[in-house]
Structure formats: C-alpha cells, structure tokens
C-alpha cells in the first residue's frame, strides 16, 4: 500500500507538471469552448419563440454546433488523451534505468503498474470533470437555463462512461509500453490500434455486410437481405470501442432516443409506439437500453488492464 501511494503521488505530480498534459488540456479546453459556444448560439436561435423543450441543457453536449458535438469530440479524440498519458509509462523507466531501482525498493511489483494506472485515471477524471463543469457554467450563462436533477444525473453517467472509455485507451497504451522496449514503437502501435478500431472496423463490417448480403439499390432487394445486411454492419461495428461509447452516450444524453438500432429493425408496433409516444425516457430506462454497451466498455477496459498487469508481472527484470 505504501509503495502504491508513493508511485501514485509521484506519477500524478509528473502528469500535472508535464508539458504534454498542459498542451493536451489547453487543446481540449479550447475545443470544448468553441463547440459549446457554437452549440449554445445554435440552440438559442432555434429555440426562440418555441416552447422550451425539456432537457435543453443536455442539448449543449450533443448538438453539433460547427462540426461536431462535445460527445462526438470525446469519442474521436478521447483515446488520444489516454494514449498520451500512458504510452511511455513503463518503457521510459526501463530505458532510463529507473525501473530496476523501483522494483528493488521494498514494494510489491504491482504497485508500480497500479500506481501508474490509477494516476492516469485520476488525471483523466480531473480533466473531464473540470471541462464539463466549465462547459456547464458557460452554458448556463449562454442559455439561461438551469439543469434539473435528471439532467445532472445523466451528465454524471455520461462522464463516468467517458472516463471508462478513455481509461481503456490508457490501458492499451500502458500495455504497449510494457511490451515494446522502444517508446516510438509503443506510440505508433497505440495510434495504429486507435485508428483501426475507431475508423476501420466500421468500414470492414460494411464490406463484410455487402459481401454476405448484397443490397442493390436499383433492384428491389428482398426485405430479409436488407435486414441481414444492416444487422451484420451494426454487429460488426460494435467491435469498435468508439461505436460502443457513442451509442451509449447518445442514449444517455438524449432522453428522447429509445434505441440504438436503426429503423429497419423495428417491428410495426415498435415503430408505431415510437412515433406515438414522444415522452422522454426516465434515466433508469435509458441506462437499461445501453446496459450491454456500458458493460462491454467496462469489461474491455478491465481486460486490457488485466493483460498489462499479467505481462508486467511475468516479465523478467533485466538490466
């Protein structure tokens, strides 16, 4: 415990005093300011003279103002935060000859990796919480609407999801920093995996869907084929943590959304009820809808950390 705290304190201090963190924080703060401002202006204009809809405040986070919304921004660039915080966690210590020194202190070996992961997690948490608070304050002034309890709870759930999502990438980059001796290699590996999982998985699943169940727009395709096509596409894209995250958060942040699947999947009754009953879902039900996504996100994060843990514990310490 003593060792864990010592490593944790030192790593946290390192994160907060490092240039890369300051740069990253500045970038995130700037982008969030701009997106919120755009979203706020857009919302104010479009809501003028209209009866105030429920949950206006949450719209601040999922209205694409200029290019993308705040939630989209996190799903795109959140991984980068995780990668930046972890890509050289272990191999820098190894390269500088400090790892042997650490493990020859009277601490358990896992204190090193646990301390580093927890310090990264804390940094991510502090960054996201402060950004969300700043945006909220900014939004309050811009919209003049105070968020209700439900909205605050939804934001909190969304925040936790974002932290888990970014922690997954922290875990990935720490894993690579353990397996690759070279720092440049571990950065590239993390970035390659990020690009692959975030952008290529959807493409690949689309290709697979078109091969397995070709849909021709000119001819009338059998209904079953269309459904099969969409099903393969959607299931395949779920392999991407980014898709998991954006599905989960879009449901949590927008109470009017009731399903993550596309219209083609809905039966006639479901479609009818969706168009008839426009009432927003309560938070519990929203969580229920994306429960699989949330569980999957947490699971891949834990698995990723577990693998890094095992690899690190089994690795020989050589000088």
């Amino acid at each position: 415990m003593q060792g864990l705290l010592a490593v944790y304190r030192k790593e946290l201090a390192d994160h907060f005093s490092s240039y890369r963190f300051v740069l990253l924080f500045a970038l995130i703060a700037m982008v969030s300011f701009i997106t919120t401002y755009m979203a706020g202006i857009h919302l104010r204009d479009s809501l003028e003279g209209v009866a105030k809809p429920k949950f206006v405040f949450l719209m601040l986070f999922d209205t694409p103002g200029a290019i993308f919304s705040m939630v989209q921004f996190v799903s795109f660039l959140g991984p980068l935060i995780g990668i930046v915080l972890g890509f050289d966690a272990i191999n820098r210590e190894r390269a500088h000859g400090t790892l042997v020194k650490l493990v020859s202190q009277p601490i358990y070996r896992d204190a090193v990796i646990n301390g580093k992961f927890l310090a990264g997690l804390t940094t991510i948490t502090i960054t996201l919480v402060s950004i969300v608070l700043v945006i909220s304050g900014f939004g309050l002034a811009l919209l003049g609407v105070v968020p209700g309890l439900e909205e605050v709870c939804r934001l909190a759930v969304c925040l936790v999801l974002s932290i888990v999502y970014i922690s997954f990438w922290l875990g990935v980059s720490i894993l690579f920093s353990i397996s690759f001796k070279n720092i440049a290699t571990s950065v590239l590996a993390s970035i390659a995996l990020w690009i692959f999982l975030s952008f290529f998985v959807s493409l690949i699943s689309e290709v697979l869907a078109n091969v397995a169940a070709p849909v021709d727009n000119k001819k009338d395709t059998v209904r079953e084929t269309v459904i099969k096509n969409i099903r393969i596409k959607e299931r395949g894209s779920l392999f991407s943590p980014m898709v998991l995250y954006s599905h989960a958060t879009s449901i949590i942040i927008d109470p009017r959304r009731k399903t993550t699947s596309s219209l083609a999947f809905m039966g006639p009754i479901e479609r009818l009820s969706a168009s008839r009953f426009q009432n927003p879902l309560p938070l519990g039900q929203s969580i229920f809808v994306v429960c699989p996504h949330m569980v999957a996100l947490i699971a891949i994060t834990l698995i990723c950390f577990l693998i890094s843990y095992l690899v690190f514990m089994l690795q020989e310490i050589k000088t």
């Binding site: 060792g3 000859g97 042997v100 493990v103 020859s104 202190q105 009277p106 020989e316 310490i317 000088t319």
Partner: protein, 250 residues
C-alpha cells in the same frame, strides 16, 4: 543454523530456455565484510544479484539473505538490502532531494524523519552543495554518489553494488571506493561489490569470488587464492594476476 552467513547461496542455477547462465553457484558472504564479486561481462553476476533480491526466480537451488529466502520474503529482504544497479538511472527533472524523498516514501519513512535522513546521507556522500540541482545536470560521479545515497536512506544492513565505478574518472572512482570503505568501517554495512576494477577491489575487499561462464571458480581471501594458484609462499600476486590466470584456464 548457527553462524549463518549474511548472504548464502546453495546450488543456485538459472536457465533461460536451454541456456544455462548460472550453474550450481555456492556463495557465502560473512557479516561485516566487503566481498569482491568478480567475473567477465555476461558471466552471471547480475543474474546472481537479481536472484538474491528476489527480482528473478532461480531455476534450481536456494539462497538466504539475512536469514530470509528471497523467493518468499523479497519485500523483507529489500527493506534491509540496498541495491545499486549497474547503470542506475534517475529522473532527470528532479533534484537530489526530490529523488531521495521519492525513495524514502517507497521505503515507508515518514516525512520528518526522511528530511533529516536526506540531509545526513547527502552530507555523507558529499552532495550537500548540489542538492538543489537537477539530477539531469549531474556528472556521472555525482550520479553514482546519489545512487549510494538512495540506498543508504533505508539504513541497510547489506549493500549490493553492481559495477559502481564503471565509467568514472580515476578521481571519482577513488572517492567512491573510499566512501564504500567508510560505510563498511563506520556503519558496519556488509558490502557485496561487483566490479571489473581489480585494483580497487583488492584495496577494500577481505574476500573475493570469481565467476566465469556461470561457474564460481574460486572463492576466498586473496592470499588464499594466490596460494592456491601459484603455490605455497606465493601470496604476493595481485588480484589482477590471479584473475587472469583463472580466466585463461576457464
């Protein structure tokens, strides 16, 4: 067990796959002595040291350090044994006090005791004047002395030094050797010193062990080794000559 040596290895063997890097090593270091641990590069000295600290698991055989088994009691051993690795690294953006505070923190020394201790050890290794400088700006000799300070923080019973004088200028090496000698004499710390600098080893060690290709070929006081190799009445040979003789034969 009566009169147990402070460091004791029995039949210590390490294999990586089919390659044996250390074969059936028997080693004992008595309390209060400086033991010179010699051998060419890659002969298995560092491997032995890592196994003594529980950082690497022996394939066969066992060891006892301060009466404890490194496989089971690694943490307890590391509490009383200070290890200065070969080419030890530092966090370049910390100063000496910060580095030592971090090490003290990991050894569970509370803040007030730590700051007193840090002052004392910095004084002892002669770095008091440079304690506010970033370690990145230290010379190699200063870094080695800071490394010694880092292991002294925990008041060790045993010091294991792996090539502490490697790459130091003659003056720096001499100062370091004098420092080790005074630690042994004044603080009664047992020292296991691995080094290539045979002249220095001869100056401060009571006994030496020679490890060649993973086998301990000789162990004992320098005169005894000389007698063994060159005959009775031939105790005048230097450690270097003895070592070379063993090396050529091995």
């Amino acid at each position: 067990m009566e009169n147990e040596s402070i460091i004791q290895a029995i039949g210590l063997t390490k294999r990586y796959g089919s390659q044996t890097v250390l074969a059936d090593l028997n080693l004992h270091v008595e309390e209060g002595e400086v033991f010179g641990f010699l051998g060419p590069n890659g002969s298995g000295k560092t491997t032995t040291i890592l196994m003594l600290l529980g950082l690497s698991q022996p394939s066969e055989g066992s060891a006892r350090v301060c009466g404890m088994d490194p496989v089971r009691k690694a943490i307890e051993i590391k509490r009383v044994v200070g290890y200065l690795p070969e080419n030890v690294g530092f966090y370049g953006d910390m100063d000496a006090v910060q580095s030592l505070t971090y090490i003290a923190d990991m050894n569970g020394i509370d803040k007030d005791t730590a700051s007193n201790k840090i002052r004392d050890v910095l004084d002892e290794v002669g770095l008091s004047d440079d304690s506010q400088k970033k370690v990145g700006a230290y010379s190699r000799g200063m870094k080695q002395r800071l490394g010694i300070a880092e292991v002294l923080i925990k008041d060790p019973k045993v010091l294991i030094l792996d090539e502490p004088t490697l790459g130091l200028d003659p003056d720096g090496a001499l100062r370091l050797i004098e420092l080790i000698r005074s630690l042994n004499r004044d603080r009664k710390i047992t020292v296991l010193l691995s080094s290539h600098n045979l002249y220095q080893v001869q100056k401060i060690s009571q006994r030496v062990g020679i490890l060649i290709k993973g086998k301990m070929v000789a162990q004992g006081p320098i005169e005894a080794l000389s007698r063994e190799k060159f005959g009775v009445g031939e105790e005048k040979y230097t450690l270097e000559e003895i070592y070379m003789k063993y090396f050529q034969e091995g």
